[in-house]
Symmetry: C3
């Protein structure tokens, strides 16, 4: 390659200038900090978790009730070690300033075991999610097809795992898990949301479910639905106040169709209500309400004109 | 690592409790079944298929008309074996209960060869898709840029392959292919949809095209467009009736702009019509119609107020 | 495998028929051309760039201000070689027809060094983007969480790198970079857009920012927002005219909420204005304007009816 050596000499000063900015710009580097959890490590553990929650689908074939115990046992054993390492990193990163003497590995292990103990109970909830998906989608040919092919179930499963971890006080990793599902499915569910069983997201790309949403049982939502904040209360300094309920409540059996937006922490969509596509809803509605847009106005135009 | 051995001892009971749920919760495992097609195997074959449909773009460089035959021949030969293995798994999984004595490998091979025979004809349709993309996007600088960089074309190509497989009676794999494209592009096209040549999806994230859509020639749609179901007919038991036409028909030369939603199996958008952005359309419109929203009402508010 | 040899014999004719289409269909192959840049090579270089822009987050842990110089220096050195190779391919592909005698490696190296020189200045802008994200999102617990977990920042960072390359006259690679971010985040920002510092995209799936957008300082947009074209001017032959301003201008401090669509090259959203969710806006508004939809009409319907 016809490399000009004089140009290559400039790389030293470029590096020096970059390193100088690491002092000047402190928000965009992570130098001199305790290690963060490993993204690859968390994604790898998440794949193991999904494998024991839905055995026989993703990886090892020819599992049956007689041999699955050995397979699952070895994965659970490995998960204990993988998760303890990542949880310890997350806990040390979050707590070492205030409590430098904590035994973070021991604390991590306790949380890992408490987490793994909840997996059997979680499977009963996921069973209801799968049933709801089959009952709610005419295109579904079978229940197993939903576990095998539906990205919505993967996003909901990942959220339910992350939500358990959040409740156990594990920092960072819940968000890392839901963001990995977001990247794969386009479905962004905050780990803090409260979501009842029998939850079905169809197609799902563009769905956003905010941190303080409350969602009841057997709720169904479609692609592009936002359950978001209407306004952000600010303190006397104009800073956004964090941690308040900013996102809506959907009661049992609610359906929200494609690209609808439901906003506000005081907004309650009553049970058995239906919010139609592209609706923008910022106030509460009674049970059994249907919320629809007016029919659009039609204009006849000469062919070839465009509007997009 | 300061592992507490007593905690680790609990892993056995956690595994036992998990395994017990595999009996109780039967929808969320795949134990004791014939093997499913391999996701990695299907994704690998899909990459080979796209490589022979668009030679010289993705992998091997410096191909020319004099040497491409050897390269393509070796890929086609490998595809024969890869696809036969995956098709056989899918066919056995679907049919072995009713017809246990079928020679699934032989049946798979017949379908593979019938499928590969359709690739040359498919390239003529893809050529029209590429031309439509270039003609329809002012940001496109050249035709090859569309093949090289546009995710919409990748999603449409994958759909066209999956649609052929569906017609050949190959189970599972069509949906696996379109879901892999969905994960990469955010575009969710059901393999069952009927889509004419010269189809262009620009940007594409959030597009959903339902199972029973009929789309004519030289149709253009943008990101966030849903072609979906308006309502699901139910039988006397309240079960959704599957397999009816639930999704709209777009005639030739229709354009549907960003985040519009067109719903219903009886909804026909007449040829040369334009549906503008964010429209919610649930009834048929004549040819050469433009469907637009009313201009939004404006409110002047003090700065700093928020709504979203 | 019960392979029928007679069927396998047909693979030869299938290959011949495919190769014939490479002559007939010229838009869908890249035979006999100079090599394209490598997608894997560009993605690999992009990961290196993000690593030196946000050191200590993604890869190597335990970096501190004392050792980071060695780490960054080695990455910058490797980037020089990786990028020179890819830039040279892109330049040769674009220019070799008109200027076959150019030294493409030397030209590429000049552009690589000019590009790397801009990284320190870019970090100061990214610092403002991170601050804007923290100030704009009540769910954010800390600044580092935004760098570590927020896909919007990854998409904006990739866009800013691609925009610099576009300004340096590097072909193809800017679009390859933004499409790789699009695939990961669902956020599609054209490298040609002009975007000021302090830009925050929250959630982001489905966002499309067109080639000729002008976006001011401290602008915030949400998932599903399209900043797009209203109509495409055509020449006397009916061909779309390329390169005109087709996309809107957002002045400083504008907020556009989820699934809103703002269209047109003449559309200017005045500073400190707010466009609410699901709005369709095709004309200019004054500073400090809020644009909201009418409240949707409500209809009370019997439970069980569906619309979506």
């Amino acid at each position: 390659m016809a490399t000009d050596i004089r140009l290559k000499d400039e790389l030293g000063s470029i590096t020096e200038n970059l390193v100088e900015t690491y002092t000047a710009c402190g928000l965009t580097h992570h130098l001199g900090h305790t290690p963060l959890p490993s993204r690859d490590g968390v994604v790898d553990a998440l794949a193991d978790l999904i494998d024991v929650l839905y055995p026989g689908f993703a990886r090892r074939q020819n599992l049956h009730i007689g041999n699955v115990g050995y397979y699952v046992g070895s994965i659970v054993d490995g998960l204990h070690d993988k998760l303890t390492q990542q949880f310890a990193r997350a806990l040390r990163h979050e707590l070492s300033h205030q409590q430098p003497d904590l035994d973070f590995e021991a604390l991590a292990q306790q949380k890992v075991v408490a987490f793994l103990k909840q997996l059997p109970g979680l499977r009963a909830i996921l069973e209801q999610d799968v049933r709801a998906a089959y009952d709610g989608d005419p295109a579904a040919r079978s229940h197993f097809e939903i576990v095998f092919c539906y990205p919505g179930l993967e996003a909901v499963t990942t959220y339910r795992l992350a939500h358990i971890l959040l409740g156990l006080g594990v920092p960072l990793i819940p968000r890392m898990m839901t963001e990995s599902a977001h990247a794969k499915t386009g479905i962004d569910i905050h780990p803090g949301a409260e979501i009842g069983p029998g939850f079905f997201i169809d197609h799902g790309t563009g769905v956003v479910i905010g941190e303080t949403c409350h969602i009841g049982r057997r709720v169904k939502i479609y692609q592009g639905v936002t359950l978001g904040a209407l306004s952000f209360p600010r303190d006397s300094d104009g800073q956004i106040i964090r941690g308040q309920k900013r996102h809506p409540t959907l009661e049992d059996e609610v359906v929200v169709y494609a690209n609808a937006t439901v906003l506000g922490g005081d907004t309650v969509v009553g049970h058995h209500s239906v919010v139609a596509s592209n609706v923008w809803l910022t106030h509460s509605v009674e049970p059994y309400t249907q919320v629809l847009l007016e029919k659009p106005q039609l204009r006849i135009r000469p062919a070839g004109a465009e509007a997009g």
